[in-house]
């Protein structure tokens, strides 16, 4: 589903290269974890997948279902089924959460040539999804992410993911800022979306999240490259021994 080939990327307008020849394949149905020390390029990779303009790809390619997405706008990638759950969901004053959800769902449907959702159907979908994630309906009346706690923001991201029902989900440190109960709710939400047609990339610092969302593969990112790939036992190794050994072995 996703194939990243020898990707090089830098911060736009500078010479600072963050991603330096990264290779990664993720199959449909797979849950891939990406781990790595601070500054290894994990979040940058997620932004590049989503199409953020702040980064410039200088070499290599990203194929999504066999098609290069590098030239596509964020909205086009999203309509094709790529979803990024932000590490820091953005607060947007003045834009009501419900209105945002409706516009997002309908714009995606429109881009795919589907009919717009009728308001009652939309409300029903949102209510069901919100209750699954134990989201207070009052929260949805507020402006998008404004005044949400850290945990509420992360839950709202998963709510969006659920409603937009993407094919490729990228979760950027979704566990940061969550207490144990919220971690459980969010993980359950993600696990419910596991399916043979869908790939999920989980970016995290900690093994803890991977106890709840059990990965098929684990990739270690260091200095903008994947330096080791393994199964879920690799994450346990890292938890026990840290990154130093792997970094040394790769050097």
């Amino acid at each position: 589903m996703l194939e990243i080939k020898n990707l090089h990327a830098k911060i736009a307008g500078t010479d600072t290269e963050i991603i330096c020849g990264l290779n990664l394949s993720v199959r449909a149905g797979e849950v891939a974890a990406i781990m790595g020390p601070n500054g290894s390029g994990k979040s940058t990779l997620s932004y590049i997948l989503a199409g953020r303009e702040d980064y410039e790809v200088t070499e290599g390619d990203i194929l999504y279902n066999g098609v290069s997405i590098l030239e596509l706008k964020p909205s086009e990638r999203a309509a094709m089924g790529i979803f990024l759950a932000f590490q820091y969901p953005v607060e947007i004053p003045g834009v009501a959460t419900m209105q945002f959800l409706k516009v997002a769902m309908n714009e995606q449907r429109k881009a795919r040539g589907e009919d717009e959702l009728k308001t009652p159907d939309f409300i029903k979908l949102v209510k069901q999804a919100a209750s699954d994630l134990k989201i207070d309906p009052d929260m949805l009346k507020r402006p998008l992410n404004v005044g949400f706690s850290g945990g509420e923001k992360k839950r709202a991201e998963i709510l969006q993911m659920k409603l937009l029902s993407p094919r490729l989900c990228v979760l950027d440190e979704t566990d940061s800022g969550l207490d144990i109960d919220a971690l459980k709710i969010v993980s359950d939400g993600v696990n419910a979306l596991r399916s043979p047609e869908r790939a999920i990339i989980v970016i995290t610092h900690y093994q803890r999240l991977l106890e709840h969302i059990v990965p098929d593969t684990v990739h270690v990112l260091y200095k903008g490259q994947v330096i080791k790939t393994g199964d879920k036992s690799l994450a346990l190794d890292l938890e026990a021994n840290g990154y130093a050994d792997i970094i040394e072995a790769a050097a």
Binding site: A50, E53, R77, F86, G94, V95, A104, Q108, Q160
Partner: protein, 423 residues
């Protein structure tokens, strides 16, 4: 003798003086009203239109901007449905009031009657030599409505003063008194036609007795070629609350002048202003707020969206008199400039003579936040829609402060209509 050289009259100045000569005998009013009109016109005739050398008009050089007046001929005004369902509409069409509709607890009279009886004469004065709106309106006013809400009355329906005009020239006036503890919501709606150039002045004079609670909403939907000069004066009694909401979505040349006197102890004044500017229009919102009593609060937030080559002005002056201790006054002007050629001029002024007060002001100019845009687009929203949502959100925040949901959604509708047509 010290002779001051006076520049020759502009076509607009000449047209105003000529118009007065031509119509003065037909204008309604008793002898007192007629002599008040004469005085105002004589003052105008001596001064002419204000230039940038007049402080209050520094950013709106009316002499330069108002070169030509449209001729007096009216076109056909478009019918307009009320902004909020269930509102009682009082119409003034091309400067003439329709028969007033009865509303329980409110005495409503055509302003024409006040002119005819002479009762209006004391109000036909200029606030000073720079009050060209008061002077022109007083000299030419033909009609309008007076509202008088009795003590303790809560006016159930929203009152919509619908001022419609298609080209031509019209001058209207709306004195409104709200009795002790009276409550009311009034929409003052100024509507024009995009295909005809019109000139208008309108003056609303509000008086809030002690404890009155009034929401007054100015909805300016003039046509793209219209020139409109509006003025609102308000006097707030003790413990009264005036929530003033202004939304400017039209006009080629617009000045909305607000003169607010917080003269009662513990009164509250709230201003929320939304200015949506496009094309090569010029819109000026000017506030003069006087805190003349202790313990009162005021809050002003103005949000502007400017496109194309449009130019906007906000002048906000707050004067806190020495007696007005414990005043809490806050003013903010935030502008979203969406074109390189768009311009916004903000001039906040605080003059504080009391020593125990909280006063603040701030002005910001921003572009669309790239992080916001990326977040929305990452959810599949196209760039155009995402921008629309963000602009809408920027001004919509102020609308969200309105308690009346029907009213809020009507105003949101106005913003959306404007955005769809312009952005």
């Amino acid at each position: 003798m010290n002779m001051q050289s006076k520049p020759p009259r502009t076509p607009a100045e000449q047209a105003i003086v000529d118009a007065f000569t031509n119509v003065v005998s037909d204008l309604p009013g008793d002898a007192a009203v007629t002599s008040a009109r004469d005085r105002l016109l004589a003052g105008f005739s001596a001064q002419g239109l204000p230039t940038r050398r007049i402080e209050a008009w520094h950013y709106t050089d009316l002499r330069a901007l108002l070169r030509v007046l449209p001729d007096g001929a009216f076109g056909v005004p478009q019918p307009v449905s009320p902004l909020v369902e269930g509102a009682v509409v009082l119409s003034v069409v091309q400067g003439a009031s329709d028969m007033p509709v009865a509303i329980a607890g409110v005495e409503i009279e055509p302003f024409l009657d006040h002119l005819a009886s002479g009762a209006a004469s004391s109000g036909l004065v200029a606030r000073g030599t720079d009050d060209v709106i008061g002077a022109l309106n007083g000299a030419f006013v033909t009609d309008g409505f007076s509202l008088d809400v009795a003590d303790g009355v809560t006016v159930e329906p929203i009152i919509e003063l619908q001022v419609r005009q298609a080209g031509g020239r019209a001058h209207t006036r709306f004195p409104a008194r709200f009795g002790r503890k009276a409550k009311a919501t009034v929409i003052e709606r100024q509507v024009g036609r995009d295909d005809l150039a019109g000139f208008s002045t309108s003056v609303s004079a509000l008086e809030l007795e002690d404890g009155a609670e009034v929401t007054w909403i100015i909805v300016q939907q003039k046509g793209a070629k219209d020139q409109h000069l509006g003025q609102l004066t308000a006097k707030l009694g003790a413990g009264s609350t005036l929530s003033l909401f202004i939304i400017n979505t039209g006009g080629k040349l617009v000045r909305e002048e607000l003169h607010v006197s917080v003269s009662g102890e513990g009164a509250h004044f709230n201003l929320r202003g939304i200015n949506l500017l496009g094309g090569d229009s010029h819109t000026d919102l000017t506030l003069k707020l006087n805190h003349d009593a202790p313990g009162a609060t005021s809050s002003e937030i103005v949000r502007n969206v400017v496109l194309d080559r449009a130019r906007g002005v906000f002048q906000g002056q707050i004067q806190v008199a020495q007696i007005a201790q414990k005043t809490d006054a806050r003013m903010a002007c935030n502008t979203l400039l969406l074109s390189d050629e768009a311009e916004w001029l903000a001039k906040p002024e605080l003059e504080i003579f009391a020593d125990d007060v909280v006063c603040a002001h701030g002005a910001t100019v921003i572009d669309i936040d790239k992080t916001h845009l990326f977040y929305l687009m990452a959810r599949g929203i196209t760039e155009k829609s995402a921008r629309g949502l963000l602009v809408n959100g920027f001004v919509g925040e102020l609308i969200g402060d309105l308690a009346d949901e029907a009213l809020a959604s009507a105003l949101e509708g106005l913003v959306e209509t404007w955005l769809n047509a312009h952005a």
